[in-house]
């Protein structure tokens, strides 16, 4: 714990950013990752002969783009498919449909990027810092494991591991030879980050990386993540249910509901002019720390529906205060993404031709104000 404190104070300057990246292929404009129509249905089995009786639509036709050097925040409630999405991106579970293009190269295609190459460029940090480390390996061996598998010599890999421990704010002499159970939660999560960085990836997926940590420790890790991003020229996909953390860290935000993308846009636009009723409800469910600012009416009633049997049409309509017949009849589309300033929502009120009574009234958000008020002073 002493190392934590001292490194936080005396850490290297933030302006040590490498100017150009030799690993870059397509230039700054080409997105780091393009995800197209990604889908994963988990089978539900039962009955005679354990046949497939249904499926949980965990990720259903999800498309988005991650730009170079940005942090894309992904928010949503439990069961919305955000963790499944992280695992699909890393190819930890096979996808049912869809394509991934990493810096211009299709993943798993002929002449494209192989899985080994992808995992060298993209790494994942999990929520549970303990169960994601091998309990029988000292942490520096855990970190050195990846480089060893990818062909580095034992001594060299260890050198890399010790350097990374230093970078994430742990004294390698003090912590390197310890086992995971000898570290606190925050220290273990730092080790996980170091391990993810061991192959010098270009992109990190952080799946609820600070959610299990206490506030004061989580804040230290978040600061460290911001420093590492600049230092190693990284791109982050930051998955969390905590809207405040996502707002602080992200450049753009993607909101998921029941396996689908409902809204995507720049962080200020999402947090000040949210278009989708679900995003607005999520934002107004945030709790203020001022005791005079109490919420007297819940913005939404009920729980999210079961993803194995989602509502017809718009999946949010069963909880939406603005739902009309058209919402049950057809599924809203999200529109075309142009550049990083695009702010899109999959809602019939955003589409002038949908037939919703509030459709096309620009901005539709104004009409929503009465239904779901977002407190301005959170």
């Amino acid at each position: 714990m002493k190392a934590d404190a001292s490194v936080l104070r005396g850490r290297p300057k933030l302006d040590a950013v490498p100017p150009g990246d030799p690993r870059d292929r397509g230039g700054k404009i080409q997105p780091m990752l393009v995800v197209n129509g990604l889908r994963k249905y988990f089978p539900v089995r039962g009955g005679l002969f354990n046949r497939r009786t249904g499926s949980v639509r965990a990720v259903d036709d999800v498309s988005f783009v991650v730009l170079k050097g940005e942090t894309l925040g992904i928010v949503g409630e439990s069961g919305c498919g955000k963790s499944t999405l992280a695992r699909l991106l890393m190819h930890l579970i096979p996808k049912d449909a869809g394509e991934l293009i990493f810096d211009g190269e299709g993943v798993g295609e002929a002449h494209g990027l192989t899985l080994t190459e992808l995992r060298r460029s993209m790494q994942l940090v999990f929520q549970d810092s303990y169960s994601s480390l091998n309990p029988r390996l000292p942490v520096e061996d855990s970190i050195a494991y990846g480089p060893r598998v990818h062909g580095m010599s034992r001594a060299q890999a260890k050198e890399v591991a010790r350097e990374l421990l230093e970078k994430v704010g742990l004294n390698p002499g003090l912590f390197g030879s310890r086992y995971p159970h000898e570290l606190s939660g925050g220290q273990k999560q730092r080790v996980n980050v170091a391990r993810a960085l061991a192959l010098s990836p270009r992109m990190l997926i952080l799946d609820e990386a600070v959610s299990a940590l206490d506030k004061s420790i989580g804040a230290q890790v978040l600061n460290q993540l911001r420093y590492l991003k600049r230092h190693f020229n990284l791109t982050y996909v930051f998955i969390s249910h905590d809207l405040n953390v996502v707002q602080y860290l992200s450049d753009r935000v993607l909101v998921m509901y029941l396996g689908q993308v409902v809204e995507i846009g720049p962080v200020e636009a999402i947090y000040t002019r949210a278009k989708h009723p679900y995003t607005r409800a999520l934002l107004s469910s945030r709790l203020s720390m001022n005791p005079d600012d109490r919420i007297d009416e819940a913005p939404l009633a009920g729980d999210p529906p079961n993803p194995s049997n989602p509502p017809s049409g718009c999946r949010f309509r069963t909880r939406c205060p603005c739902a009309e017949d058209v919402c049950a009849a057809k599924m809203p589309t999200i529109g075309t993404w142009v550049d990083r300033f695009s702010h899109l929502a999959a809602c019939h009120m955003e589409d002038a031709t949908s037939g919703h009574s509030r459709a096309g009234r620009a901005p539709a958000a104004a009409a929503l104000d009465r239904a779901i008020a977002v407190p301005a002073n959170l």
Partner: protein, 343 residues
């Protein structure tokens, strides 16, 4: 249900805890989980205990019901709830008190409810056990309770098993179970932490409403300052097994006086924060409860610490009416708080 129980009860605190210490003994070490906690609580009040993991907040809560492993736990100090001296009760008396005078809701309703009985059966069992009524009357009561906690289509949910309910409904079912015998004190151990944001606010509003209607006292344990701001009348901040600051919710959250409370508020991310600035994290990590440092346990992480802080444990210092902080600098730190932290 007695909302105002006359003058006699309203002047006397519902809960009185004096010098509570709890330690857990094992072969290797003794963990001092709670180190001298004292507080009082009036009937019908909501007290929030805020703290991070390992601060002793849940252990304090469990001590109020003596729900701690018998052989491993060393408990001292006095606990009074209503007319009962919890430390002096026999096992048999304790079973009678649990559920009818004090009851508890837990963080994870799936593990707290019995998976092999229906929700209705579990509520009815408690009612029959404590009030000795017939099974039919008890089921009737269970039905009413599910209505009270706003479970949609309660007659169907009475016959549902816990796994058939969603997280929010399960938590509502557990609240119904806890309220089934009209307790005068409800203990809530992070009841909304496992819930989604949109469901959490529903449950908080429900608890606040029920607490007002039934006039019961609630001790609510949480690590989330936002939750405390929503529900508390009084707040106690715990660190390393001690209450370091206690007072009215406005006093503690708007005019905090202990460096730890200040640090917690500062490390919480807020909307107005510039994204280029770092979060003011509290450096270091909480102390090892097997080897507590002498003096103030927060001193190693405290930016205001001086030599006196490591020499002896600071005693409670009154700052205002009903507001105290255990810090040698209490009273002088208030102006350090930037106003922007709260809003």
């Amino acid at each position: 249900m007695a909302t105002a129980g006359g003058n006699r009860t309203s002047t006397r605190p519902l809960v009185e805890v004096k010098d509570l210490t709890v330690s857990f003994k094992s072969r290797e070490a003794t963990v001092q989980a709670v180190n001298g906690v004292s507080f009082e609580m009036a009937p019908g009040e909501v007290l929030c205990i805020i703290g991070e993991s390992g601060s002793g907040k849940s252990v304090t809560l469990r001590a109020l019901m003596r729900l701690l492993p018998k052989l491993r736990t060393v408990l001292s100090g006095s606990i009074r709830v209503g007319d009962y001296d919890i430390g002096a009760l026999t096992e048999r008396q304790l079973t009678a008190v649990r559920g009818s005078v004090v009851s508890m809701i837990f963080q994870e309703p799936m593990t707290a409810l019995d998976p092999v009985y229906t929700v209705g059966d579990q509520i009815a069992e408690t009612v029959v056990r404590h009030e000795g009524c017939s099974q039919k009357a008890a089921m009737e009561r269970a039905f009413q309770l599910l209505q009270v906690v706003k479970v949609p289509s309660p007659e169907r949910r009475l016959k549902a098993y816990p796994h058939e309910l969603s997280g929010g409904l399960r938590q509502r079912a557990m609240i119904a179970l806890a309220l089934s015998c009209r307790p005068s004190l409800l203990l809530a151990d992070e009841p909304t932490t496992a819930l989604d944001a949109t469901v959490q606010i529903q449950v908080l509003i429900l608890l606040r409403k029920l607490q007002k209607e039934l006039g019961m006292g609630v001790i609510f344990v949480t690590h989330d300052l936002g939750v405390a701001a929503q529900i508390a009348d009084k707040v106690a901040v715990m660190y390393a097994g001690r209450i370091v600051e206690m007072g009215g919710v406005r006093d503690v959250l708007l005019r905090p006086n202990h460096p730890y409370t200040l640090g917690m508020l500062a490390s919480t991310i807020r909307v107005d924060r510039s994204r280029d600035m770092e979060i003011e994290a509290i450096p270091g990590s909480p102390p090892d409860l097997r080897r507590l440092p002498p003096g103030c346990s927060f001193a190693p992480r405290c930016r205001y610490a001086e030599s006196e802080c490591t020499a002896s444990v600071p005693t409670p210092t009154a700052i205002g009416a009903g507001h105290m902080a255990c810090c040698f600098k209490a009273g002088s730190l208030t102006q350090v708080v930037p106003q922007a932290i709260i809003s």
